[in-house]
Amino acid sequence: MFQSIGVKPLTPDPVLQVEDLSIRFQTGRGTVQAVSGVSLAIAPGETLGLVGESGCGKSTLGRAIVRLIEPAGGRIHLAGQDITHVPRHRLRTARRKVQMVFQDPFASLDPRWTVGELIAEPLHIHAVGTREERRARVRDLLHKVGLPQDAAERTPHQFSGGQRQRIGIARALALDPAVVVLDEPVSALDVSVQAQILNLLSDLQEALGVAFLFISHDLSVVEYVSDRVAVMYLGRIVELADRETLFRAPAHPYTRALLDAVPRTDGGPHRAAPLAGDLPSPYAPPPGCAFHTRCPMAVAACRTDRPQLRAVGPGHSAACHLAME
């Protein structure tokens, strides 16, 4: 059922590479540093999970990668091409390689279009194929995402949330992208439907070799789908490791706190959630380590020096003064 067990080695040429990316928003209350100096890389066919509390900047990062938001600094490389500053109208070729699936399948599909038109839209935009070829492609995509062929003639409101998300996935895959950014793709769905969509995603990845950046606040979902996991806190990546390591031996106290907050059903000793307080205001992030205000282990250095993301093991890095190899 679920194929991608184990760690795929990071190939030397990642399909998506983000370097030192920063995103700022100007608002009436001042400047928000939504994303600060984030670097990550995704190998072809890999799923990188991106977790964090709401407001940590994970969705902003995902939207910047598909160029819905202009970054303030840093670089985004897509299949070797630097797309950070390519003007929007010249972005078309790059767009074919990176696509996005949105959280709300009710809001992201035009309610007046038929499913067939919606799935064919990327093909129209990029002038792919003849009318007949596009129609065949839509049939093929409907089949791939497990929707009946007659779905093409209907409008999105005739489908359930899970089915609509399948439509969104079909549309994102229409152009055979190398990377798909999945922004909380199952958060709006019933738990029973979530598993179906997650299985569909891993089947599609297996079949198409597409890489996923899987953004979610739900650790169990991320554990289920990811090869590697990045944990974000207040706009920064605080820990990055392969799935096994991250869930069995987390190095950052924030990751540990997140894991402890997941209710256990395996009969193990109950661990109380130690994380107190709310996410600090992104308008005035705490000095030093941003997590020190809520960290149970904080020492003096945490209040003044910001820890850099550094290797704490093979393929495992954490931004914590106290993390040990």
Binding site: Q99, F102, S108, P111, E121, I125, R154
Partner: protein, 296 residues
């Protein structure tokens, strides 16, 4: 009643197999909308058949003046002070009213929808600039503005149409801008941008079709107000002197209101019927396009 439709949620996607709930069907479920539709259809029929039923120029003097309605079967609505057939005037006047109402609304739609869409989609300075222009237009009462334009340009059907159209668009622009703004920052537009769609494609194919409902409703009200404005201009003597117009007939009949009140009242009733019909229709469309509980 019609409310029952919303009480039962769709059982499955198979519900689509049921007969489609078209706009006309939903419209016909509302008695006021049906009345509006009937009146509106009557007025269109009058305008369409004017040349057949009354082939002669309605400005011709055809009988003795001040024939009361019913006095002569050949002139069922009587004649005015110059012996012109009032029924013929009302039939031909329907043409002028509908023509000016429709074309002026079209002018307003083009200016208002374009301004509103560009303003709402692009935002920023462009939006600020366009909205100041819109406000500038709104500071002058539309009727006085139209009056001034017609007075300067000489009254004729094209100038009256232009004057009404150019003064009626600001409310439409603001409406469209608000609707576009709602969609602009939603996921539908974000998804389209991520797919690589151009701004024009997003505005024309995704945003505007989804703002159609309120635009159709306000367009039907705009037609009514254009007819009213044209009648008011004609009443004040600023109508096209070469055609009959309901407002002009009311204006002419005003002088004999105490003795022969029907001369002003009958075309007045035609104006009331047309404006009422369009308002009822607009109300009905509003309900039919935005039923509670139904998703837009």
């Amino acid at each position: 009643m019609a409310l029952l439709d919303f009480a039962s949620p769709p059982v499955s996607s198979q519900a689509a197999a049921a007969p489609r709930d078209t706009l006309l069907r939903r419209l016909l479920r509302r008695p006021s909308a049906v009345v509006g539709l009937i009146f509106f259809a009557l007025i269109i029929a009058m305008a369409a058949s004017a040349d057949i039923v009354y082939p002669d120029d309605p400005l011709d003097m055809v009988a003795q003046p001040f024939l009361w309605p019913g006095q002569d079967a050949a002139y069922p609505l009587g004649t005015d002070m110059l012996g012109r057939d009032i029924a013929s005037g009302i039939f031909h006047g329907a043409r002028v009213s509908l023509l000016i109402g429709a074309v002026a609304t079209l002018v307003s739609l083009v200016i208002g929808v374009t301004t509103g869409a560009v303003s709402g989609y692009y935002g920023g300075r462009l939006d600020a600039g366009l909205m100041r222009v819109t406000e500038l237009f709104q500071t002058v009462p539309p009727f006085l503005f139209a009056l001034a334009i017609v007075a300067i340009l000489q009254p004729s059907i094209p100038t009256i149409t232009f004057a009404i159209g150019i003064t009626a668009w600001p409310s439409l622009a603001r409406l469209v801008r608000a609707e576009v703004l709602k969609l602009r920052h939603g996921e539908m537009v974000a998804a389209s941008i991520a797919l690589g769609a151009s701004d024009g494609r997003i505005i024309l194919l995704h945003i505007l079709p989804n703002t159609l409902a309120p635009v159709i409703v306000s367009a039907s009200i705009l037609v009514a107000s254009a007819i009213l404005t044209e009648s008011s201009l004609a009443f004040l003597g600023l109508g096209d002197p070469n055609v009959v117009s309901w407002g002009g007939m009311v204006g002419a009949g005003r002088e004999v209101l105490r003795t022969d009140w029907y001369v002003a009242t009958l075309p007045g009733l035609a104006i009331v019927a047309a404006v009422l019909a369009l308002n009822l229709l607009g109300d009905g469309l509003n309900d039919a396009l935005n039923p509670k509980g139904a998703r837009r």
